[in-house]
């Protein structure tokens, strides 16, 4: 599948990539923790760090729970952070419904573990400024969430 928004600008950027395997539940926490540490070192505001960590955790969990395999890319430029997951899997047949809080197609076992509460996509939406999802049933899903960063002056 084509990426929604290729990062083609010629700006200083930092790119972090993680492979996501099916049912590898640990990867979500680990990837989010690693990126969080990097963002803190870069001096991002605690609020931005918090939001980006939530977006990463939820986006990766979606791949772990629903897809066969995938990839997480986090692209950091001074103006914004882009969180991108691309997966191969069943896809989402109705994105509007999937965005609804409480709606979930996760199995009983997944729910018993405290995942699949139907809060993943709503959480991502709440914590990002822009969210694009492209999905093809039986092929996979591409999710791109953008978090804009306050400029140095705005931070005060």
């Amino acid at each position: 599948m084509n990426r929604i928004n290729e990062e083609a600008e010629n700006k200083p950027q930092l790119k972090l990539e993680f492979e996501i395997k099916e049912k590898d539940f640990n990867v979500a926490g680990e990837a989010a923790s690693k990126v969080k540490k990097t963002l803190q070192q870069l001096g991002l505001t605690p609020e931005a760090v918090r939001n980006i960590a939530i977006v990463i955790y939820e986006a990766v969990m979606n791949v772990v729970i629903h897809a066969t395999c995938g990839q997480l890319k986090v692209i950091i430029i001074p103006e914004r952070v882009t969180v991108l997951t691309e997966d191969k899997g069943i896809g989402i047949s109705n994105i509007e419904l999937a965005m609804k809080e409480g709606y979930s197609t996760a199995t009983h076992e997944i729910r018993e573990m405290g995942f699949g509460a139907g809060m993943g996509l709503p959480n991502i939406k709440q914590c990002s400024h822009k969210l694009n999802i492209k999905s093809q049933v039986g092929v996979g899903t591409v999710l791109e969430a953008i978090i804009y960063l306050p400029s140095k002056d705005e931070k005060g």
């Binding site: 539940f25 640990n26 926490g29 573990m113 405290g114 995942f115 509460a117 959480n123 914590c127």
Partner: protein, 112 residues
């Protein structure tokens, strides 16, 4: 209030030894839905949950959770406890149910 003071006051069982007992507890949260915890818990909190699989540690690490409190003396796998020790996340346990534990911790933190 430090985690150690809270443990002494409420007589919690510490499964991870000395881990984080010197850390300041700022708040607490009760939930078994990981998305809810990720979105709503404050950093520096204790988290009361009946979830005991290894992934609770990912959530705890991500949100800088000081301790996970397991109610009703529920069993934990040794692997989770060992991992918690190495990740510096305390695991506490108590015989009381989550409702009672929350009330006790809430009051203790309020008194300071």
């Amino acid at each position: 209030m430090t985690l150690g003071e809270l443990v002494n006051l409420l007589d919690f069982e510490t499964l991870t030894g000395e881990v984080n007992l010197d850390k300041e507890v700022k708040s607490g949260y009760v939930s078994d839905l990981l998305s809810d915890v990720i979105a709503n818990i404050d950093e520096g909190s204790v988290w009361i949950t009946i979830q005991r699989h290894i992934n609770i540690l990912g959530v705890a690490k991500l949100k800088d959770i000081i301790a996970i409190v397991i109610p009703r003396k529920l069993e934990l796998e040794q692997e989770v406890i060992e991992r918690a020790k190495s990740e510096k996340i305390a695991i506490l346990r108590d015989f009381r149910p989550a409702f009672e534990i929350s009330g006790l911790i809430f009051n203790a933190l309020k008194r300071g």
